[in-house]
């Protein structure tokens, strides 16, 4: 049986290899990465399968997986890989490609929205002001009432910083985001 893969998909393994900094073809799909993955129970496609699909050039299938957004970057997979592959870095690369090509997650969209809220705070102040990040995130995702019980307790305990510390050199931060930031 012959499986036809068009050129765009054949380049996918090379594209990911380049971004992730190792050779995708080194992976022999042993499954050790999936065996240690703490988020595998929520994934639609397990990490070892994603590695194999990338090798075979199944870009559309990989890009539509919610797994890539659910990866928590614990680095257990990259630590245990017997071939010194870096599945955790592959997940980073896949997210970056997805953002560049505007292939946004259909499910678990809030995971990407969180990154936007977090990085918006960094862009604005140079540091994350948690209350600003949380406010931004809740407005993006309409989750005003989640964890609302923590708010008053955290304020009373003095754990919630209200005023931002704005770093002096915000100009450089803005330059960094202008050149390398990719989220809207």
């Amino acid at each position: 049986m012959t499986i036809q893969l068009d050129n765009a998909q054949l380049n996918f393994a090379d594209e990911v290899s380049e971004l992730a900094g190792f050779r995708m073809k080194d992976c022999y799909v042993c499954g050790k990465c999936t065996a240690g993955c703490p988020m595998d129970y929520l994934f639609d496609i397990s990490i070892h399968r994603i590695m194999h699909l990338v090798q075979q050039g199944h870009k559309d299938l990989v890009m539509s997986a919610k797994s890539i957004w659910l990866c928590v970057s614990c680095e257990t997979c990259s630590t245990r890989c017997p071939k010194e592959c870096k599945p955790a870095t592959v997940m980073d690369a896949l997210r970056e490609i997805a953002i560049k090509e505007n292939r946004l997650p259909e499910e678990e969209r809030q995971l990407l929205e969180f990154h936007k809220s977090f990085l918006n705070s960094v862009k604005r102040f140079g540091r994350v002001l948690e209350i600003d990040m949380i406010r931004d995130y809740k407005f993006r995702t309409f989750t005003f009432f989640n964890d609302i019980e923590f708010g008053p307790a955290m304020m009373l305990k003095g754990k919630l910083k209200i005023l931002p510390h704005m770093i002096k050199d915000r100009k450089t931060i803005k330059k960094i985001f202008k050149k390398y930031g990719n989220l809207k």
Partner: protein, 289 residues
């Protein structure tokens, strides 16, 4: 020679008791610790999860600042920060073309002269040989599960610290303080890290597993050295009770807070009263409350 101090955003925010206890302990131990001037966020997970070069540039600015402020060694107590800066330092050394690109685009220079250390390394290097003479409290019978989390030891090739599967550095420090470190199976199992808001159920699920194993091993307390791990394990015990029915009431304490108690500081001075899960009761017999 002064050691630089990079607290990171969490230690200035929700996890300020980690910062508070580090400083209070250091006042007694007498190391010259100076905060880096005008540091920026390391980008935590959100930067490298979305744009590799954004992560490199943000951390290159910090490394460049540290170098220009003439620190050779910097303590970064949050493992997300320390891992980010160590990884970027290594990448810039191995990829001079990337270093030059960012240097030209952003106008920051860095010569790879900075060493970043985590809190365990800091305690090992600067406190351990003076600790015995400064300890005022003799603890007895407290069993501690030392929880390292993900980024103190992983990725091992980059961090080159302790053992990535069965680390023992924190256990040895805790033993010197007078607690009984336990042999348990979840020392480096992920707590869910930055998903506390965006996928809370996963944090509740993973923390339940960690605390179950700690409890089964006989832990009276869990010791941590990461603000994310602390926030997740400390704050989500009520969520765990609602979801899984188990009421752990297992106190989660920062290593710096534990050292502080051993040196004779009160829980309030160290910020232990700010925890969501009571971490004072377990020490009531030994310290002034």
């Amino acid at each position: 020679m002064a050691v630089g101090y990079y607290p990171g955003c969490a230690l200035h925010g929700t996890s300020n008791e980690y910062d508070q206890s580090i400083r209070k302990v250091n006042n007694i131990m007498g190391v010259d610790l100076v905060e880096i001037n005008d540091w920026n966020c390391c980008g935590a997970s959100s930067s490298h999860m979305t744009s590799h070069k954004l992560n490199v540039a943000l951390n290159m600015r910090n490394l460049s600042l540290i170098e220009s402020q003439e620190f050779k060694e910097v303590l970064a107590p949050c493992p997300l920060c320390s891992k980010a800066m160590i990884e970027v330092d290594k990448e810039l050394k191995e990829h001079p073309d990337l270093k030059n690109e960012i240097s030209q685009e952003i106008g920051i220079k860095y010569n790879n002269t900075v060493k970043i250390i985590n809190y365990l390394q800091f305690v090992e290097k600067y406190y351990l040989d003076k600790l015995d003479e400064k300890i005022k409290v003799k603890f007895e019978g407290i069993k501690a599960a030392c929880y390292y989390g993900c980024l103190l030891t992983r990725p091992p090739k980059i961090l080159q610290f302790d053992d990535a599967e069965q680390p023992t550095v924190m256990d040895e420090i805790v033993r010197r303080i007078g607690l009984e470190p336990l042999d348990w199976s979840f020392k480096t199992e992920c707590c869910g890290a930055g998903f506390a808001l965006s996928k809370t159920e996963s944090v509740v699920h993973l923390c339940n597993k960690i605390l179950t194993n700690a409890k089964d091993a006989g832990a009276d307390i869990v010791v941590v050295a990461c603000p994310m791990c602390h926030a997740n394990l400390d704050m989500r015990q009520s969520n765990i009770a609602r979801e899984y029915g188990t009421k752990f009431k297992l106190p989660i304490i920062y290593l710096s807070e534990l050292i502080g108690l051993a040196l004779g500081l009160t829980p309030k001075e160290l910020g232990i009263n700010k925890h969501f899960t009571n971490a004072i009761k377990v020490f009531e017999k030994f310290v002034r409350v």
